[in-house]
């Protein structure tokens, strides 16, 4: 589309078509700006904010409408990162200073996530971190992490600060993070020991490829699977790696432990070899609470690195078969024998990162988190092309990628048939709270167990496969049409009911000024602004149409809601009738099929 436009422009202007790289970039930049103009209506602004933030507000809709997409994006790219760890550290410090037990558990990590996504100015960065947290998955549903909210907060802060950086750096950051090390057992993974029948753990080797980078099958640049046999009907997928490659990566990912271990003092063969410093390496001093331990918030380190004895438990010996693909740097994808743990890791991550699958694979996953469950191959291809080259020859620039996702013509034009996605449960709650300026009286957010009503809470998925699979197809019409519907995987009877009820609780009970709350201080929606419209049902519905349905409410729905609101009167509902009008308008909108499916 843009190419056609650019070529057309050049023909009109009589330019000869052989621009150098710089000229081409300039032209593309112009084309980009052209596509990025807008929004032209507040409804368009609202839709964009639904995709790029944790929910539109009236203020932000106005602001975006005035400043335009590009200025807004640039502001977001420059915004200071809201972090989680300082909040948890502060709670720990307060408890220590007061001589109190440290009651800092996973609910506090949930709390600071909510606070950041509800009130942080770095909305797009937080939204990107949220997306990344569902791809580069760690979860507190894990024995090693459940009691350790600080290391998970540190991990999440890494996703947020790397949200607009390079994916190669992010991949290394998460690979060496102690949380990930424990979650996918690369931590203390050790080299082959034939005598003890020990061989390297393959967990991380497998998942970094399957989930974090290239996926199971070879992809075309537009994300469709490569057909291994064009002569046969249907697509014969081609595996992107096999067991030899997993075994190769498993060997690379050996020898790493906390950065805080005492180093080896003798070679492995020596009687005075201090293996116990590997086996029982502390993450920090005994005198300090484990949640403050430096080992949990510093990158893993090869045990023995920098000593005369080398990386003791790294499998340096033997060559390792890594990924082999067109243009691979390592000859035939083979990492030669030798090398240090760190150098081999660098080579292996480069080998993964430069695989041609990464762009289309990651682009599709990110598109699904931002705009649509079913992007066209062309959309995936355009974003993947930006992943491959941000316009300045850089591969893996996530800032360029997220811009491409949001500014793509498929994201900015009205959604095609069956475009868009089912809203994630967490986003349904944040959208309500942001639109209604919700807060608790003391400023705390007691929302530590959202998975109980939404089957989703930040970094609390049941497995490394996230809350739902990118390829999940709801049985029935959705599957028959060949559509992917990830969020439907957790839209079970139980969670339809619970989430509808929870939104009910947040609308009908947890409102600012409700005397029945007593000492209970949940996050409360502020109904006062909209109470002013209680006697103007059409305006009230139009406001929620803008905030929640991006101006696309059907006439049928509008009329049903207006009739319903008009039917609530002092006579049949008592003195709270105006509030009931607002509450019913909210709840009925937020549980309506038109809202639940974001288009």
């Amino acid at each position: 589309m843009r190419n056609g436009f650019v070529v057309g422009l050049m023909l009109i202007c009589g330019l000869s078509i052989s621009p150098g790289a710089d000229a081409q970039d300039a032209i593309f930049a112009t084309g980009h700006d052209e596509a990025a103009e807008g929004p032209y209506t507040k409804a368009q602004a609202s839709r964009f904010l639904t995709q790029a933030t944790f929910g539109p507000t009236l203020t932000e809709i106005d602001r975006l409408y005035r400043m335009g997409y590009n200025a807004w994006l640039n502001e977001q790219f420059a915004a200071t990162t809201s972090q989680q760890l300082p909040f948890l550290d502060q709670l720990i410090a307060q408890a220590v200073a007061a001589g109190q037990p440290i009651e800092v558990w996973q609910d506090k990590r949930q709390e600071i996530w909510w606070r950041n996504v509800l009130t942080g100015n770095d909305q797009l960065r937080q939204r990107m971190a949220f997306a990344l947290s569902q791809i580069l998955v760690i979860s507190d549903q894990n024995g090693s992490l459940e009691g350790n909210p600080t290391t998970m907060a540190h991990f999440y802060d890494g996703l947020a600060s790397g949200a607009f950086g390079n994916y190669r750096a992010l991949l290394e950051n998460i690979t060496l993070h102690p949380s990930m090390g424990h979650y996918l057992s690369m931590f203390k993974n050790r080299k082959t020991d034939a005598a003890q029948n020990i061989r390297p753990d393959e967990n991380y080797a497998r998942e970094i490829m399957q989930l974090f980078s290239i996926g199971l099958v070879q992809l075309n640049p537009n994300g469709t699977p490569v057909d291994g046999n064009a002569g046969q009907a249907g697509i014969q997928t081609v595996p992107s790696y096999d067991q030899t490659v997993i075994a190769g990566f498993a060997k690379v990912f050996t020898g790493w432990s906390y950065s805080t271990c005492s180093p080896p003092v003798a070679p492995e063969s020596s009687p005075s070899f201090n293996w116990w410093h590997w086996e029982y390496c502390p993450s920090g001093p005994d005198t300090q609470d484990w949640r403050s331990h430096p080992g949990w918030r510093t990158a893993l380190k090869p045990w023995g690195e920098g000593t005369a004895f080398g990386d003791i438990y790294h499998e340096s010996a033997g060559s390792k078969q890594l990924l082999n693909y067109a243009g691979v740097t390592l000859p035939n994808g083979v990492l030669p024998a030798g090398g240090t743990a760190r150098n081999n890791l660098t080579a292996a991550l480069n080998n993964v990162f430069n695989h041609p699958n990464v762009g289309p694979f990651l682009s599709r996953l990110l598109i699904q988190r931002f705009t649509t469950s079913n992007p066209s191959p062309a959309y995936v291809g355009r974003v993947a092309a930006v992943f491959a080259n941000n316009g300045s020859g850089v591969r893996g620039d996530l800032r360029a990628v997220v811009r491409a996702i949001l500014m793509d013509t498929e994201a900015r034009s009205p959604a095609p048939t069956n475009g868009g996605k089912l809203r994630e449960p967490l986003l349904r709650v944040t959208q309500l709270w942001r639109a209604l300026d919700a807060r608790s009286i003391d400023g705390r957010i007691r929302e530590g167990w959202a998975e109980q009503y939404g089957a989703q809470a930040i970094q609390r998925s049941p497995t490394v496969f996230n809350f739902f699979l990118p390829n999940y197809q709801l049985p029935g019409e959705v599957a028959t049409l060949g559509l992917f519907s990830p969020e439907f995987q957790i839209t079970t009877d139980t969670y339809i009911t619970r989430l509808s009820n929870e939104i009910g609780g947040k609308v009908y009970w947890a409102w600012w000024g409700n005397p029945d709350l007593g000492t209970w201080d949940p996050v409360q929606v502020n109904l006062n602004r909209d109470l002013a419209l209680a006697t103007q049902p059409a305006e009230l519905v139009e406001r929620y149409n803008l905030l929640f349905l991006n101006g696309r409410m059907s006439n049928t729905m509008r009329n049903l809601l207006i009739t319903h609101i008009n039917d609530i009167t002092n006579n049949n509902s008592g003195s709270g009738w105006q509030r009931f009008r607002v509450q019913d308008a909210l709840w009925l909108t937020l549980t309506s099929p038109e809202y639940v499916v974001e288009k």
Binding site: E202, T491, Y495, P593
Partner: protein, 497 residues
């Protein structure tokens, strides 16, 4: 009407009547009328209740520490397993009347007293070394290029799907339980509640082409309170929600242009109808009824009608299943065929296996024993009508990664119930040596299955009432599971009476 003809009829009627709102009820009535007049469908005669309960062990159960050699073979096991091995003198001896086919004496993990007792009482069987296969496979074939193998062996998500479909040749997302329900659901007099009930949310096993499973939790059923009037059609006695309920329903019943909107509406409507019905039924059988005591006592907890201690996760799920089963009667849920899914996680023991694995096996062993105590009580008398079985994406590697095991392939499975040919081990036990193991893939003791997941599932489905003709439809790869590479050749492993 034979099943085949009934299915043809079903197919034609479906095509003819697609879109007709009256279709469901019309068909249900025809089905009942037909059953009443011809008696042609064996499974509808009398009070012939049958249920299958799948217990899914998420993560890949290390079955090689669950069923362990207790004879001279223990030395090989010990040499391979090293620090992870269960000591020989701690194993709970089992004395099968037959099997395994290659001999040897075996014991169960020391925490599994309930499973040991049920095995010895003839109410549990062990199925050795089962897993997904496309064709019979051995080490030579595995290592040869061109052999048909299940896609993405050793991957959690994929092998989990293959266990549940089981279509190792395909990426289909319907499970054999779902396909069974596509056939059998119409035989339930109750056409509102799905034949398939999950206590652990989404699973492939119960997803059919036309049947979607109903999800509840071990806490029971919840209803959407802002529209709940405690009655159908927004017209129950609690009228203060009536107007909101009517508007909610009016918004639901519009014609929607987006497939996701239509799907959301369908799911919401099914939820509302079903939850009302199930809630009313199970309320008659509260969990503090003394008949459910074994769930506490078998788990070493003290039962109390007023303030019972919290049960292990699987016990909670099986207790709720028992309550639903108890409400099966004609005046309540009116179900004749049901298929339940329960699940516990945590079996992916890459680390800390010695600390983490026994607690999971204990919950499995003791909670299922309690379930059968309850089912065999006079109140239920359903021990022969309910069969319970395990599934798990893979067995684990024989070898030790330091403090755990990694992803394997074949594994042992347990089947419980009075209808089981119990006190037997079906199939062949694999070689457990670490090196040059003829039964592994060549990779650290990933054992090649000698029974296919298709055979295992088909044996259960046949007991459930599946005809030979339909069996070939549901398990298309079953026909290939013959010959000397299979521990048991053919479509029926024989572990069900």
């Amino acid at each position: 009407m034979s099943i085949l003809r009934r299915r043809e009829f079903l197919h034609k009627t479906l095509c003819a009547a697609a879109g007709s709102a009256a279709f469901t009820s019309m068909f249900a009535k025809m089905e009942l009328a037909q059953a009443a007049t011809t008696g042609g469908i064996r499974r509808l005669e009398g009070d012939d209740y049958r249920a299958l309960v799948c217990i899914y062990l998420y993560g890949g159960n290390d079955c090689f520490n669950m069923v362990v050699p207790r004879d001279a073979g223990h030395a090989t096991y010990l040499a391979t397993r090293g620090s992870l091995a269960v000591p020989q003198n701690q194993l709970l001896a089992i004395n099968p009347t037959s099997g395994p086919s290659n001999g040897g004496q075996y014991g169960l993990h020391p925490v599994m007293t309930g499973a040991r007792d049920m095995f010895e009482a003839g109410r549990m069987a062990i199925v050795a070394n089962a897993g997904p296969l496309v064709r019979p496979t051995n080490k030579t074939l595995y290592q040869q290029a061109g052999t048909l193998l299940p896609a993405q062996l050793f991957s959690h998500s994929d092998q989990s799907v293959l266990w549940q479909t089981p279509r190792a040749d395909s990426s289909a997302r319907t499970g054999w339980g779902g396909r069974l329900a596509d056939i059998f659901a119409s035989t339930n007099p109750n056409q509102v509640l799905s034949m398939n009930v999950s206590l652990d949310g989404e699973n492939v096993f119960q997803a059919g082409v036309s049947v979607s499973p109903y999800f509840m939790s071990s806490d029971g059923v919840e209803q959407i309170w802002p529209i709940n009037t405690n009655g159908a059609n927004c017209n129950g006695p609690e009228g203060w929600n009536r107007r909101r309920c009517l508007t909610f329903q009016a918004l639901q019943t519009q014609t929607y242009g987006h497939a996701f909107e239509r799907a959301y509406v369908n799911k919401t409507q099914a939820t509302i109808a079903t939850s009302a019905q199930v809630a009313a039924a199970i309320a008659n059988y509260p969990s503090n009824d003394a008949v459910f005591q074994p769930f506490w006592t078998r788990n070493g907890l003290t039962w109390s009608a007023t303030n019972p201690p919290e049960l292990p996760r699987l016990a909670q799920q099986l207790l709720m299943i028992a309550r639903v089963i108890r409400a099966r009667g004609a005046s309540q849920l009116n179900m004749q065929r049901q298929l339940f899914f329960a699940a516990i996680g945590g079996f992916d023991t890459h680390d800390n296996q010695l600390a983490d694995h026994p607690g999971l096996l204990r919950d499995l062993s003791q909670s299922v024993q309690a379930f059968y105590d309850v089912l065999n009580s006079p109140t239920f008398a359903l021990g022969s009508s309910v069969t319970t079985f395990t599934a798990s994406e893979f067995g684990r590697t024989l070898t030790n990664n330091g403090d755990g095991t990694d992803h394997g392939w074949g594994g042992h499975h347990l089947v419980w119930g009075n209808a089981v040919n119990g006190r037997r081990i079906f199939g062949r036990m694999p070689n457990l040596q670490a090196n040059n193991n003829p039964d592994d893939t060549g990779w650290g003791g990933q054992i090649i299955p000698t029974i296919s997941a298709d055979q295992y599932a088909a044996t259960l489905a046949t007991w459930y009432g599946l005809s030979d003709i339909d069996r070939a439809d549901i398990f298309p790869n079953l026909q290939f599971m013959t010959g000397p590479m299979m521990a048991i050749s053919g479509p029926n492993l024989g572990f069900m009476t």
